[in-house]
């Protein structure tokens, strides 16, 4: 299918979760006869069960189809699917970088949501042509005209340009295909002979190793080429080149403007970086394509095996599972840690909260492991007094690693731009929530008659604590939010140490804002008190900053721990019972002679009512 550059269209579909992105993609494939009706399988582009279950796409893939437009000309349409969630913002932006256009899907009854806005802003920033699409017009609650006005109001895209469709019935699909051919621009011309192709995704395949998705901007890629990854500075030889149509189809070469995949005996995803530029080793480009960044882990937590046998098999099982998971997902990091309280485990870094949830679920589901997860923390930039009076910046993502406050000059934390879409009646509550969570108000915009979009800057640490749950709770589920990390800013942050029976417990330490420290400390101690059994002695629970106690709770000593009867016939049973009880206690972690059940370490995670 030799097609000139003028007739190639590279585009993505972007949408708020559940607004029908994947269904629309499938419908487009069907309309272009890439798949027969019989073959049509829901959400063809999503490959993992977990993604399908959660209605999100985690990994991008690209599908190429041929389409004969109304004018009789044949076009090559390259669908580049993007992960919908902001945790994968960087991956989304790389996928968009491979496109000239984006279809922005908005549910015709739900309207513009926070994620719609964030994704649209990303597309704008890449200078993409956007076609707004109002989906699900077949539903009884659809309000296409009103929602088109919202799109104009909030995103500045003309209401009249919105194409009403139903991915379910197929209504409006021909119009959309025409618009794709007519309105999306063709790829730019090749700037020279030196090949430059952008890696916008990579997946791991058990049989072929890493399959790398690329968009060729300049020059060509051919089977047998020795290629160089410019960022990682590594070379490989292309053994296989192809496209998904959506069946896997081999091609001899990929020219300017085309997208496809290559296989090059790459063993792990760690050897490929999304956003990197591929060039030819024989005639390398001088400069890579702009915009490459290494994946940045923003949320950290520890994973420990929930069970532990003496030989450490559970830890080894977890290690093996983590290594396998990393083959599929190079954007999370892990390193072994040892906690006095929880034993051996791993400190893991994630792009965001959803990414963390997905990793944990995949470990439990695909590897049949039970995991204890500690409270997530964000990555702080800490300015400390260095040698010779020169200050240096270190990264801290474990409260226990924070140096002595005397050494700390400044703690900077990640701040997010947060878009919140909320029905008018909840605005007061949301304002209060945001101010409680150290948010800085930026702007407010009317969305239709019933909703407003609020923009705040909110510290990521507050978002991962309980912001989203609270937002959903306060708005009866109607509020939506999305965020992207915008900057680091210093604030009066402190480390709270938790002392049980006067001994600090590292695994329970946390970093939080000074003004919220007393409240946070108190809540945590109250939760701990419920988790720890009464002992023979009174147990003080304390929260402290530096040496100063800011909150205190007490677990009263139990007063009576004695069986009433112990006669001749009771001796054996009684002895065995006492031994069994003792063993039960031994399984708990003991700190300062206090037996602490594992659940207590999760108490910091609990975001229930305070």
């Amino acid at each position: 299918m030799p097609i000139d550059r003028e007739h190639i269209r590279n585009f993505s579909i972007i949408a708020h979760i559940d607004h029908g992105k994947s269904t629309l993609a499938d419908r487009l494939l069907q309309a272009t006869h890439a798949v027969s009706d019989r073959e049509a399988k829901e959400q063809l582009l999503d490959s993992m069960d977990l993604e399908r279950e959660r209605g999100i796409t985690i990994k991008a893939s690209a599908v190429t189809v041929a389409h004969t437009a109304d004018d009789g000309q044949e076009y090559m349409l390259n669908f580049i699917d993007t992960p919908g969630h902001v945790d994968f913002n960087y991956e989304v932006s790389r996928a968009l970088k491979a496109c000239e256009g984006a279809i922005l899907v908005v549910d015709a009854s739900q309207g513009v949501e926070a994620q719609t806005v964030v994704n649209a802003l990303l597309a704008f920033s890449q200078d993409l042509e956007i076609i707004p699409v109002l989906n699900k017009i077949d539903l009884p609650g659809a309000r296409p005209d009103e929602i088109a006005m919202e799109v104009e109001q909030v995103l500045g895209l003309a209401a009249e340009d919105c194409i009403p469709v139903s991915a379910k019935t197929g209504a409006g699909i021909p119009e959309l295909l025409s618009a794709i051919c007519k309105d999306f621009p063709p790829p730019r011309e090749s700037l020279g002979d030196q090949t430059r192709a952008l890696i916008f995704d990579a997946i791991y395949d058990d049989y072929r190793g890493v399959v790398t998705y690329v968009r060729v901007f300049d020059g060509r890629l051919k089977v047998g080429d020795k290629i160089r990854m410019m960022g990682l500075d590594r070379t490989f030889i292309i053994t296989d080149l192809g496209k998904y149509t959506p069946k896997q189809t081999r091609v001899k070469e990929l020219g300017p403007g085309e997208t496809g995949y290559f296989v090059a005996a790459i063993k792990t995803l760690g050897d490929v970086r999304v956003g990197d530029t591929v060039t030819l080793d024989s005639n390398p480009a001088t400069d890579p394509l702009a915009g490459y960044e290494a994946p940045r882990q923003m949320v950290f937590c520890d994973f420990y095996p929930a069970t532990s046998d003496k030989k450490g098999n559970d830890f080894e099982d977890l290690r093996e599972a983590m290594e396998k998971l990393q083959l599929n997902d190079s954007s999370f990091t892990f390193q072994p840690v040892h906690s006095e309280a929880l034993g051996f485990g791993f400190r893991c870094g994630f792009l965001g909260l959803l990414h963390m949830d997905i990793a944990q679920q995949r470990l439990e589901r695909e590897h049949n492991l039970e995991i204890v997860q500690t409270a997530p923390t964000v990555s702080y930039k800490v300015l400390v007094r260095g040698k010779g009076g020169i200050s240096e910046e270190i990264e801290v993502h474990n409260p226990a690693d924070l140096p002595d406050m005397g050494q700390v000059l400044e703690i900077r934390e990640p701040i997010c731009n947060v878009e919140i879409m909320v029905p008018n009646e909840y605005i007061g509550d949301i304002m209060k929530l945001c101010l409680d969570r150290r948010a800085v108000y930026k702007s407010q915009q009317v969305v239709g008659d019933t909703r407003q979009m609020l923009t705040f800057e909110v510290p990521l640490a507050e978002i991962i604590y309980d912001f989203y749950d609270k937002l959903k709770g306060l708005t009866s589920g109607y509020g939506t939010m999305d965020y992207e990390i915008a900057l680091y800013r210093s604030d009066e942050l402190v480390r709270i140490d938790i002392l049980i029976n006067n001994e600090p417990v590292e695994a329970l330490a946390l970093i939080c804002h000074k003004d919220r420290s007393v409240q946070r400390g108190r809540v945590l101690l109250q939760r701990l008190r419920k988790q720890i059994d009464r002992h023979q002695f009174e147990i003080p629970l304390q929260a402290a900053i530096g040496g100063k106690i800011i909150a205190r709770e007490t677990i009263k000593a139990f007063r009576k721990d004695v069986t009433a009867k112990c006669y001749g016939g009771d001796m054996t049973r009684k002895r065995k019972l006492l031994e069994k009880q003792k063993k039960g206690k031994d399984r708990m972690k003991s700190i300062g002679s206090v037996n602490i059940p594992q659940q207590a370490f999760m108490a910091v995670l609990d975001t229930g009512d305070e």
């Binding site: 139990f558 009576k560 004695v562 009867k565 112990c566 001796m571 054996t572 002895r575 031994d586």
Partner: protein, 415 residues
């Protein structure tokens, strides 16, 4: 009920008894327990095999018991018995004629010189409703010098909660009858922390018991034993168990109230005037040897080579009647002697006793690392104020009595 598994694991103890008798080092056994399995009604919380209409079985039982007693008697080497305790069940349900037969059997096979001289203790558990001058005269003539009255409570509401159906007024009557018969020592059993019971109600029970002029009280916090009706009702949510703090208050009140009346706590749940402690129970708690006869009765026999044998007679009356190996019934839960287990048992009971334990003597034959570990636990608990040391014995303090199980767990964990 005996499960098939228990049947399978049952064993004859005749060879063990023979082996002990052949050992020239064997010390004479000086204590005897007899279990009478008959009851008024089939109690929901009791796992013994018992029948309401037992008249036709009482005779064969008494005969069979006589054979077992005869088989056990050589272990006393004809030394005078120091204690006999006849419990149940409801021993006083046994017909007077059979009591006469049983007491004669005892006289025939055992040396009761000390008992008849009132220098040794012979206790019988008594349901107050069964008290009669005739029965008590027979008991006294047979050497019985101590009665333990199962009162449990004097409050009809709480008796009902416990599924006890006797008239509370029968208790003072029974105590008076005992005195008249010349049985000088009586003890009263009470239960506290009954669901719904208040501290003043418990105080009233205690006051009533103390006015009876008995020299011994056993006060048990209600225990929810597995597989009993009480526990099932608790799990069903029929009632709320007594709050931990209230139970502790009731217990501390008991200790004080008894002390004021001259009854000192000598074990967690037992209070006595000086010299009126139950010698038989003290024998249990000091891990002495005792013989045990009757279905479900548990024996403990110290082995001259160290450690002690423990076993429990088959609990089913039918099995007891029909299994007979030279007088011995089959036994279950047999535990051969194990000095380390004996050490555990000694420490476990010592922390419940006023007389405590002489640690140096106890650890005389224990290896150094274990002895040191035990001493470390003792030192910890001394420092914590749960144990105290006097006359070279370690004893629980007031607060130690309250957490005796915790103390026992600490000791067991190093053994």
């Amino acid at each position: 009920m005996t499960t098939p598994l228990q049947q399978l694991k049952s064993t004859s103890t005749a060879p063990i008894v023979r082996q002990l008798l052949d050992d020239p080092e064997l010390s004479p056994v000086r204590c005897l327990y007899i279990h009478i399995p008959f009851c008024f009604h089939k109690c929901h919380y009791c796992d013994f095999y018992s029948l309401v209409d037992t008249r036709d079985r009482q005779q064969p039982f008494t005969d069979r018991l006589g054979q077992e007693l005869a088989a056990l008697a050589p272990l006393t080497q004809n030394q005078p018995l120091r204690t006999i305790f006849i419990g149940g069940g409801t021993p006083t349900l046994l017909q007077p004629a059979l009591w006469t037969q049983l007491l004669r059997t005892l006289d025939d096979h055992f040396n009761l010189a000390a008992i008849h001289a009132n220098d040794a203790e012979f206790s019988v558990e008594c349901n107050p409703e069964t008290a009669s001058p005739e029965l008590f005269d027979i008991l006294r003539a047979g050497g019985v010098n101590r009665l333990s009255m199962g009162a449990q409570s004097f409050n009809p509401r709480h008796l009902k909660t416990l599924e006890r159906w006797h008239d509370p007024k029968s208790v003072p009557r029974a105590v008076a009858l005992a005195k008249t018969a010349g049985i000088e020592r009586t003890s009263v059993d009470l239960i506290f922390a009954i669901p719904g019971q208040t501290l003043p109600e418990w105080d009233a029970d205690l006051a009533t018991a103390l006015t009876l002029g008995t020299t011994h009280l056993s006060c048990y916090a209600l225990t929810y034993e597995p597989n009993t009706a009480m526990t099932a009702r608790l799990k069903r949510g029929d009632f709320t168990p007594t709050d931990d703090d209230l139970e502790a208050d009731m217990y501390e009140h008991t200790v004080k109230r008894c002390a004021d009346a001259g009854l000192d706590r000598y074990e967690v749940s037992n209070f006595a005037a000086p010299g009126h402690e139950c010698a038989h129970n003290l024998a249990y708690w000091s891990q002495s040897s005792w013989l045990a006869a009757g279905p479900s009765a548990s024996s403990h026999l110290l082995d001259p080579q160290g450690g002690g044998w423990r076993w429990k007679n088959q609990p089913r009356l039918d099995d007891y009647l029909h299994q007979n190996d030279n007088g011995h019934p089959r036994a279950i839960d047999l535990e051969p002697p194990d000095p380390s287990r004996l050490l555990s048992e000694q420490l476990m009971t010592a922390v419940r006793l006023r007389e405590g334990i002489d640690l140096d003597q106890l650890l005389e034959n224990t290896n150094e690392p274990t002895a040191n570990a035990v001493r470390r636990v003792a030192a910890d608990q001394l420092a914590r104020g749960c144990l105290q040391e006097s006359d070279s014995r370690l004893r629980p303090t007031d607060s130690g009595f309250l957490v005796a199980d915790g103390l026992a767990r600490e000791f067991l964990s190093v053994l």
